[in-house]
Subunit: 269 residues, 3 copies
């Protein structure tokens, strides 16, 4: 597992050159913004959720992104169909367990899904990763001081169980797998005021996983360019509205020099 | 019922400090834009519509916003489940009767809902409020000259029947309850050219109702900051596209001085 | 079939004056952006997809736009109900066969629909028009050099079968009907990096078809103002994010002079 500015930019270049089809079964709130993010990065997004067509769509895709932000019975059925097809074909599955822990429906759906088809990458915030790992954030008395420790522990347990690269996003992003922990420190706090940038990060993980089968490295690359595009956008914005617009511009125009001058990535000691 | 710049700004501050969870069952068109508006104001939006989880989600929310813009059978069922749960727990319900009167499905759904669970706040435009009150705008020969009078009459009838604070949005917004009528004159005509700003107003009513149990005051505060953010945005925009972006920036950056210098609110004489 | 700057601008003026109601049954990804485009052009968009209400909604609309981007069983049923109602009432149907050919569900749905209710206008990209006409783009070895020829042939066959004005959008847009082929050369390549601008073009075809019953002329007018607004926006943008915003501003502010100075339209020889 080797990750450098050059290797990340090589993945970006490969996405731009090959335009991998990324099949998204995602929530209504972020469909437009994640499709736009995938498109400006250079990937080909497609959204399809009908049980009648998801297997066929996954069959022509290079990655499958499942996001449980707005579930319903038929969508859950379609998620399982698509995930099983992805497993059979070796298409990497990226999971965003949005709001897991908030309702038992979300928790049960996510746990069933990761048991049925262990994802290549799971990306969530600290409380989602902890809920998914079966750790109740509330009973642990999590606060900002100790959250990263408890979440990292949860991510490690989740990785042991599933083999997934587990990405905890936050002020610092952590990517956990059996080989260690990668830290990505890029980003800007105002990104938290734009709906669905977490979901966008997950979608970009899908684009990177489509061109790089070392999934922790793919996830780290996605988080790094998310954070860097967010930093550039924040410098040009007057608030979350303009940040959302500038983020897409920055991601579209992202250069190797942007990566070189801004990246803050390393192994967790 | 007392409403001043200070009391409105106190509500804004309380939303920013406590980040109340606002559960939205809303239409597909505006999910992203209303989530963003709630988020930049300081609230925590969540969208969830599955019958399997809406009661649980409403159970952890501080307000429930129901918007009927894009209905279907299972969404209507979920709306009733969530509304009944809100009633049982004392979570304020805010209703946006989008397009009521245009189809009998919308009219029947809204009327059944307000009879089953009288909302804390109902917000619509003049024709929606009239349709909901059972007054046919067309047979009344409504035009711009007499619409506010007919709509106010409809709002009063609706308030008598439901006890809801009824908000009619338009060039001037009116908030009607048993104690009288509040006028809010902030806003800019170009706001009507951005899809879903009415739905955003309703969502913000939810955020205010989460921190202020005087619902007419909550609605008036929401309409005032909507209008003020819209005015600021319009001054910085070249059209509805940039207005939508600047609106979010303005709402995020809204200061007590913005409120003081711009607010035009008063009792209807 | 006569098309001039004056006739296109007359249609724009008529849309602005009469605000025709355009009923959209469209995909989740683009609902917000297409509603905004219709609104800034001057039309009145409504999105409604429930089987319980689509016939009633189509009954008060001046055009029906069906877009198959995110299908499901109940939406397909609603599309047929609405289309049949449109046929009975003489409301023009505009079809966007998004992703037809990618899955058999999309292909079957589109083919059944155009057989049941031949659309006034069909708009897609070259590969969609070819798939809809039963021509497999892959087996034809389509590349950029010969795609327009093969797609034009497919469009002509589709027009013969359905009587629809068939619009192929791309670097050059072609509008094909029995009387010939119109070329529209406006636009900017960066428009391809904004999700759903094709869907927006289709929605604008609906607005034009609502005021002009010469459907090839309506489609050509819609494509021309799309392209012109896109050109103006691209000149003011730093990437696809700001292009999407500026596009709405440009469409809102579109003047007859913009049309006169920029239009590149003509008959295919």
């Amino acid at each position: 597992m080797k990750i450098t500015v050059e290797s990340i930019y090589a993945d970006v270049a490969k996405i731009r050159e090959t335009s991998p089809l990324v099949h998204n079964i995602t929530n209504y709130v972020v469909m437009n913004s994640t499709a736009n993010a995938l498109l400006v990065l250079g990937a080909s997004p497609v959204m399809a959720h009908a049980e009648q067509e998801v297997e066929e769509m996954t069959g022509i895709a290079r990655a499958l992104v499942i996001n449980i932000g707005t579930l319903s019975t038929s969508w859950v059925a379609a998620m399982f169909l698509a995930a099983l097809r992805a497993r059979d074909l070796g298409v990497p599955l990226v999971l965003d367990p949005v709001g897991v822990g908030a309702t038992s429906y979300r928790t049960k759906t996510c746990r069933d899904l990761i048991e049925t088809v262990p994802p290549a990458i799971i990306r969530g915030n600290a409380s989602e990763i902890m809920a998914l790992a079966g750790q109740d954030a509330r009973t642990k008395g999590v606060d900002s001081a100790d959250s990263s420790g408890a979440a990292l522990e949860a991510a490690m347990r989740l990785n042991e169980k599933t083999g997934s690269a587990v990405c905890i996003s936050g002020e610092v992003d952590y990517i956990v797998d059996g080989a260690g922990v990668i830290r990505v420190e890029n980003g800007n706090p105002m990104m938290g005021k734009v709906t669905g940038l977490g979901c966008t990060a997950t979608a970009l993980c899908g684009a990177f996983a489509a061109v790089n089968s070392s999934f922790p490295v793919a996830a780290a690359g996605a988080m790094a360019i998310m954070g860097i595009a967010g930093e550039i956008a924040a410098e040009r914005s007057e608030g979350p509205g303009s940040l959302q617009v500038s983020f897409l511009d920055a991601l579209f125009n992202l250069s190797e020099d942007d990566l070189k001058s801004r990246i803050r990535i390393g192994k967790q000691s």
